[in-house]
Symmetry: C2
DNA sequence: CCTAACATGTAAACTGTTACATGATTCC
DNA sequence: GGAATCATGTAACAGTTTACATGTTAGG
């Protein structure tokens, strides 16, 4: 059985259950969106247009079970893992398939080419990277880490571990950019005299 | 004038010139592929299928100039920046458009979900991340850093700076994964007694 | 009452990769 | 002679995002 990455991510989120409730269990497509937005999306993002059709496919494949669960008059459908879904998730986690660590960042591309502009403009590029990661740190602390702490209380430790990696990554970027800003300022200063 | 990201990456590479020659200047699509593979591809990758059509478009837009430059009977076309191309590159570098730092990595996704499997399997996931980054460090040192040092001799300092960031990133990943492996081993040890 | 967030989706567009095709040259 | 690399591309496919459509409910 070969599933898309989106399918495995959704299986994993179904297993974790809603972040803001103290028990594991069923969740809607929207719940999954919200949880992704403060956790896995830092390593793999899914759009709503991928989530809803995939939930249906998982249900048809017998890996998830859906129930109608309207809130008031608003229709809503919640899903939970089946034993087959749990087994499929575990098989995927244990399967050693090659995975690349890929970064996609235009700001770093610009920095790579920064010799084409003068020192002031280059410093702005480094500064933009620093400001962005400082904002990311704020957001991570307020959202990803809080959610992961709740998961940990439910016995899931790895969300917090990966959250810590996110923090460390952006701290590294802040320090890198700050160092570069200072170096550029020093170099253009000494070039001026 | 609105160009694709691929276009700007190619303009930037045209400006840098071939890595292995001591002067700036014209380069073929293949040269660009090779240089990308040891530099910008760590932040933004392009496939050959994007490079060749884009070079033609850049030529038609007057941003690059192409000349036939066959090697023996093998046909080949080299390109160089026009003044308009240089200006467009600089305008892009100075334009403060929002850029996200995006990571895509299935291994980290698996780690996030690692509570679904037992300690041994979870440790394997951390180990896979460590081994992969150790290999990446080797490759970066042997290829990206060497190329960046040549660029620096030609007066371009930022390729080396971004190369250093790549090293720091993977060193962080190695340390993170190693710490996690030890923690998992300790935890499952103490759970066993 | 109005706005923001909740909630579920679909169609079309876009981006990007894979696989393939072709042929020359260099190195073992 | 055969393999690897040089060199240039195209067509088909896969993956993803954007924009839209639709209606509900809670809060100011």
């Amino acid at each position: 059985m070969e599933l898309s990455t989106a399918a495995y991510v959704i299986l994993g989120m179904l297993r974790l259950g809603p972040l803001d409730e103290p028990r594991h269990g069923a969740r809607s497509g929207y719940d999954i969106q919200r949880s992704l937005a403060v956790s896995v999306r830092y390593f793999w993002n899914l759009s709503p247009a991928q989530i809803y059709p995939e939930l249906k496919r998982l249900e048809q494949a017998g890996l998830a079970r859906g129930h109608p669960a309207p809130r008031g008059k608003r229709k809503r459908r919640v899903y939970e893992l089946t034993p087959a879904g749990q087994a499929e998730l575990q098989a995927w986690l244990r399967r050693p398939d090659p995975a690349a660590f890929e970064v996609r960042d235009l700001a770093l591309v610009k920095l790579f080419f920064a010799d084409a502009v003068d020192a002031d403009d280059a410093r702005q590029l480094a500064r933009a990277i620093r400001l962005r990661s400082e904002a990311a740190l704020d957001e991570l602390r307020n959202r990803a880490i809080r959610g992961a702490e709740i998961s940990q209380q439910k016995g899931d430790r790895f969300p917090l571990a990966t959250g810590a990696l996110g923090l460390a990554l952006h701290e590294l970027l802040v320090n890198f950019a700050r160092g570069l800003e200072e170096e550029i300022a020093r170099a253009s200063d000494s070039a001026q005299r």
